[in-house]
């Protein structure tokens, strides 16, 4: 089921009577059968968007289409959606079985059929042994999977997940996100996955949608968005460690950082922000390339070594320190205090104008 949002807007009135545009004129098409990660910092409007799709909130303006059908007037229970809540919202007084069965009972599915599907669904999420337990007798990850089973058992047209992994510990989070991916592949249900964790979104989604202040910043396949951010916000939001941003300029078609040459671009002279991914630096000690800094700190974790550079040696206030990070192969033997010369991979360097738009 394809979901289309046209001009979708949700305005909340805050306590001091101000209008807050939680979702601001969003146009978005979610292709059928895909898993879409809706990504952004907290308060960006991603959960609001999800609740608008679900019908639990009513939009101020705009339309939502499921396929050809306009859904604005359709109440949530008629939209054919499954929703996994952030805190799962499992009914605490019902067993796992009763929780999964509940939507089927409401849809008046025939008893034997409902039983069969409940069991199938429990098997899909690997909980067929736990059917008679109550939610509080399950671990966080298991509760999570019950919530998914409950959302899926009525074979919804759309599956919505609201930060479903945020209450799990790190290890379980990895495991469960693989699980969600597997289930989505098996069921081929159009799925919208809301998260503030870029890594999570990147690893799980067919496509990601990056939001900020209620406005969609960029949509595309994860790697494509990572490689070709359309603005500074997206570039900064994706990737860990974060992209390094330098104040630089273009002079005579040469890109300069603190007057050191780092590359060439056919652009008029101007001030620019230069984003360089930490993995975009190539050490070039032999040629003594012009871009160089003194290493402040060396962190080696496993196969990666992170070099941290302090761009202003003389700065007194620690908080004012401008640093950048470069990830290099652990093979290089570099100590703090060494001066390192770099080349920058052109595909890992992004130029933005002073408004943060890609050049």
């Amino acid at each position: 089921m394809e979901i289309k949002m046209a001009n979708l807007t949700k305005i909340f009135i805050s306590k001091d009577k101000k209008e807050v545009h939680a979702v601001d004129h969003v146009d978005l098409v979610i292709p059928s059968g895909k898993l879409i990660g809706l990504l952004g910092p907290s308060g960006c409007g991603k959960s609001t968007t999800l609740y608008l799709i679900a019908g639990l909130l009513r939009q101020t303006e705009g339309e939502i289409y499921f396929g050809e059908e306009e859904m604005s007037e359709t109440p949530p229970e008629k939209r054919g959606i499954g929703l996994v809540f952030q805190n799962y919202a499992l009914y605490p007084h019902m067993t796992v079985r009763e929780n999964i069965l509940f939507p089927l009972e409401n849809l008046k599915v025939e008893k034997e059929e409902a039983k069969k599907r409940t069991f199938e669904m429990a098997k899909l999420v690997g909980l067929e042994e736990m059917l008679d337990r109550k939610p509080k007798e399950l671990s966080g990850g298991q509760q999570q999977r019950v919530a998914i089973a409950r959302a899926l058992v009525k074979t919804p047209r759309v599956l919505l997940l609201d930060e479903p992994l945020s209450n799990l510990d790190a290890r379980l989070r990895l495991q469960t996100r693989e699980e969600i991916k597997r289930i989505q592949r098996e069921t081929k249900i159009t799925t919208v996955f809301v998260t503030h964790d870029q890594e999570e979104a990147m690893s799980i989604s067919d496509e990601i949608v990056v939001m900020k202040d209620g406005i969609i910043q960029q949509m595309g396949e994860p790697q494509e968005v990572y490689d070709k951010p359309t603005n500074l916000f997206v570039a900064k939001f994706l990737g860990n460690p974060q992209i390094n941003v330098f104040d630089g300029e273009i002079k005579n078609k040469e890109i300069l950082i603190e007057n050191m040459f780092v590359g060439k671009r056919d652009l008029p002279d101007q001030k620019v922000f230069i984003g360089v991914r930490p993995e975009g630096f190539i050490i070039d000690q032999e040629n003594k390339s012009s871009f160089h800094f003194k290493v402040d700190l060396v962190e080696t974790i496993g196969r990666d070594t992170t070099l941290i550079f302090d761009m202003q040696d003389d700065s007194i206030n620690i908080l004012d320190k401008k640093t950048f990070k470069a990830i290099i192969d652990a093979g290089f033997r570099i100590k703090a205090g060494d001066v390192v010369h770099f080349n920058i991979k052109p595909e890992k360097m992004h130029l933005f104008d002073i408004n943060g738009t890609i050049l």
Binding site: E69, E73, T74, P75, K78, G80, L107, K154, R157
Partner: protein, 310 residues
């Protein structure tokens, strides 16, 4: 499967409006049922004897037809008999008694409650939990078990004497036994417990005594709860019926509830003056309602919390 979800939006909307109309209709009917006794009481108190005995009864009356004679009659002095020289319904005397009893009881209850709640919430002492459990247990015991022995106790303390009971005796008898409330201790203890321990330790480090800490920190922080307790408690005296009737030897020592029942039936004819009866009921109900509307938020919040937490 998907056809389940194809909806008839118009029908849904119509259904929703219909259900809202039904809801409001239900709530309005309930509201009218709740209000009917108040309305009937007030309306009847404004009717003349003729109007009151009209069949079928008058349900609506223009303000111009309202009579206040029922009210003024309440204050006409009785000519003869035991209560000669007193008003038919000595409302102001009863009101005064009730207010005085209410104030004294509330002050006493608040003091014992604050002190005890502090001890239970803040201090560690041997047997604390057992004692608290025993106190909670007494809430289960019907008060009727206490009342007869308490009467004897009051008698032995010299507060009850048919021949020479003083006003002070009556006040003592009506207030002292009711200066404790396990329920309010429980309620206040919960509030006290929410005050972070760090505040207490900080005060201890600064050399503050327990009592000063209670006075300067805990009471101000818990003031909303204490005010709620004061309001709820002060309403109690209005409903007290059996005890004041039991221990007051003279009519003029009684509380409002006692004056109401039986005062308006002419003993010689057995006829009841309903108008006067309703007027007296209005007078007794009014102070409570005024108190309620003055402190509506605190009262409703206090009562609902007491229900939830209990």
């Amino acid at each position: 499967m998907a056809d389940i979800y194809v909806s008839n939006v118009k029908a849904y909307k119509a259904k929703k409006i219909a259900s809202n109309v039904l809801l409001y209709a239900f709530l309005v009917i309930v509201a009218l049922t709740i209000l009917l006794p108040f309305y009937w009481m007030i309306l009847s108190s404004l009717k003349s004897t003729v109007q009151i005995e009209q069949v079928p009864p008058i349900l609506l009356m223009a303000p111009s037809d309202w009579k206040i004679t029922n009210y003024t009659d309440l204050f006409v002095l009785v000519q003869s008999g035991q209560r000669a020289g007193e008003p038919l319904f000595p409302f102001f005397t009863y009101m005064k008694n009730t207010v005085v009893v209410s104030i004294i009881t509330t002050i006493g209850t608040t003091i014992t409650t604050v002190l005890a709640a502090f001890a239970f919430a803040r201090l560690n002492f041997k047997g604390r939990d057992i004692l608290f459990a025993i106190l909670l247990g007494t809430m289960m015991v019907p008060g009727e078990i206490f009342i007869l022995t308490n009467f004897v106790t009051v008698y032995r303390l010299g507060w009850y004497s048919i021949s020479n009971q003083t006003y002070l005796d009556v006040l003592l008898a009506m207030t002292i036994p009711f200066m404790t409330s396990v329920f309010y201790i429980f309620y206040l203890r919960q509030t006290f417990k929410q005050i972070p321990n760090e505040l207490y330790y900080a005060a201890k480090v600064d050399g503050t005594t327990d009592f000063k800490y209670l006075l300067k920190v805990m009471i101000p922080i818990a003031l909303p709860t204490i005010i709620t307790i004061i309001i709820l408690n002060s309403m109690g005296a209005w409903s007290a019926y059996i005890w004041p009737a039991l221990i007051s030897c003279k009519d003029e020592y009684r509380l409002v509830s006692n004056g109401l029942r039986g005062a308006f039936t002419d003993t010689s004819t057995g006829r009841t003056d309903y108008g006067q009866q309703m007027a007296a009921s209005v007078l007794v109900t009014l102070p409570l309602l005024i108190l309620f509307f003055a402190f509506r938020k605190q009262i409703m919040r206090g009562v609902s919390r007491s229900g939830i937490k209990g």
